[in-house]
Point group: C2
Chain length 200, copies 2
């Protein structure tokens, strides 16, 4: 594509580096910004730079936070006995949206994935072990990782690491999603949902 | 969605204002930036701000440009006799990509659309009339506007405005796209393609 301006070319190159945005969408976004008030572009640019410069990670659970300790970790209303281990902050948001969980979190910052060169040392696993070690209030670790080979490997590694502590290690239930038809559920999920059936 | 940080909330709000990007994609983009080097975010923010602050519109054809007069208008290799009238700069890029057109352009900056409150005065139509008036080299105006009610209205308005000048006014050919099946082409297009058949 030939652009009549170096400035637009540069802007499109940068925007198209974002995930899920190709050259065409980038062009559309850039032209949209050109039609808007310049203040809109300033707000966007400032918002992103502010975020990148000032964002902090909670020193306890590694959730993103505006302060040293995030709102969930500093809240007195949450249950100290429960820690839910998740892959990234998106999962924290997803679980918070359920309004069904009132414990604390621990964000690993990824899962063990040799293919992507991510080993246990790249993740916040040591911090979790230390947290359990130093805090006798913790009674249960809920492993809420994706049900993939990498997720299962990470869960297994965590179980090994935490086996010497007096904490229960649990995993979230796998089964047929609410509102789903049985016939369209894959066999593994359906099989698990029968194995882990609950009393009604 | 509850965010644990005001900074991330603000960044997501700004990103989700962009066309084609919802809250979920915005979150994905923002988390992507957080994983990258801060320099990436700086480049993006700077690219957009630079563009918005320094972009110019060609004073002749209203294409975007880094200078007062764009590369196409200042080129000696283009045919002065031809002006192709388009809706916006995306159309200039599309036509340039064909490498089949060697005349000049005129970007209207939109089309007449009473529903969106865009009348002839909001568009660069007067400038086109002046261009034709002042430049006797111009022999043909090719109207390359979308084949919609708004496009046709604008084309009709342009024809009226330019009828007193000694220029030929033409429209781009409408017909069955190259590589398309006849049976899947709508009747209006197919009908036009028969009416405007060409000698082989």
């Amino acid at each position: 594509m030939a652009y009549s301006s170096k400035l637009i070319e540069q802007a499109i190159t940068e925007v198209s580096k974002l995930p899920g945005i190709g050259k065409k969408s980038a062009l559309r976004i850039v032209l949209h910004l050109l039609r808007q008030d310049p203040i809109e572009t300033n707000l966007l640019a400032k918002g992103l730079e502010d975020l990148r410069e000032n964002i902090k990670y909670c020193t306890v659970c590694y959730n993103i936070s505006d302060d040293e300790v995030c709102g969930i970790c500093s809240s007195h209303k949450r249950d100290d006995a429960l820690i839910c281990v998740v892959e990234d902050i998106r999962d924290v948001m997803a679980i918070e949206n359920t309004e069904q969980y009132f414990g604390r979190y621990h964000v690993l910052g990824g899962i063990i994935s040799p293919i992507d060169g991510i080993g246990p040392d790249e993740l916040n696993i040591e911090a979790l072990v230390r947290r359990v070690e130093e805090n006798s209030d913790i009674k249960e670790i809920i492993v809420a990782l994706p049900s993939t080979m990498e997720g299962d490997t990470t869960a297994f590694y965590l179980t090994k690491k935490l086996q010497d502590f007096d904490v229960k290690i649990t995993g979230i239930a796998r089964g047929v999603p609410v509102g789903s038809e049985l016939e369209y559920t894959d066999e593994v999920t359906l099989g698990r949902s029968i194995l882990n059936r609950t009393q009604l």
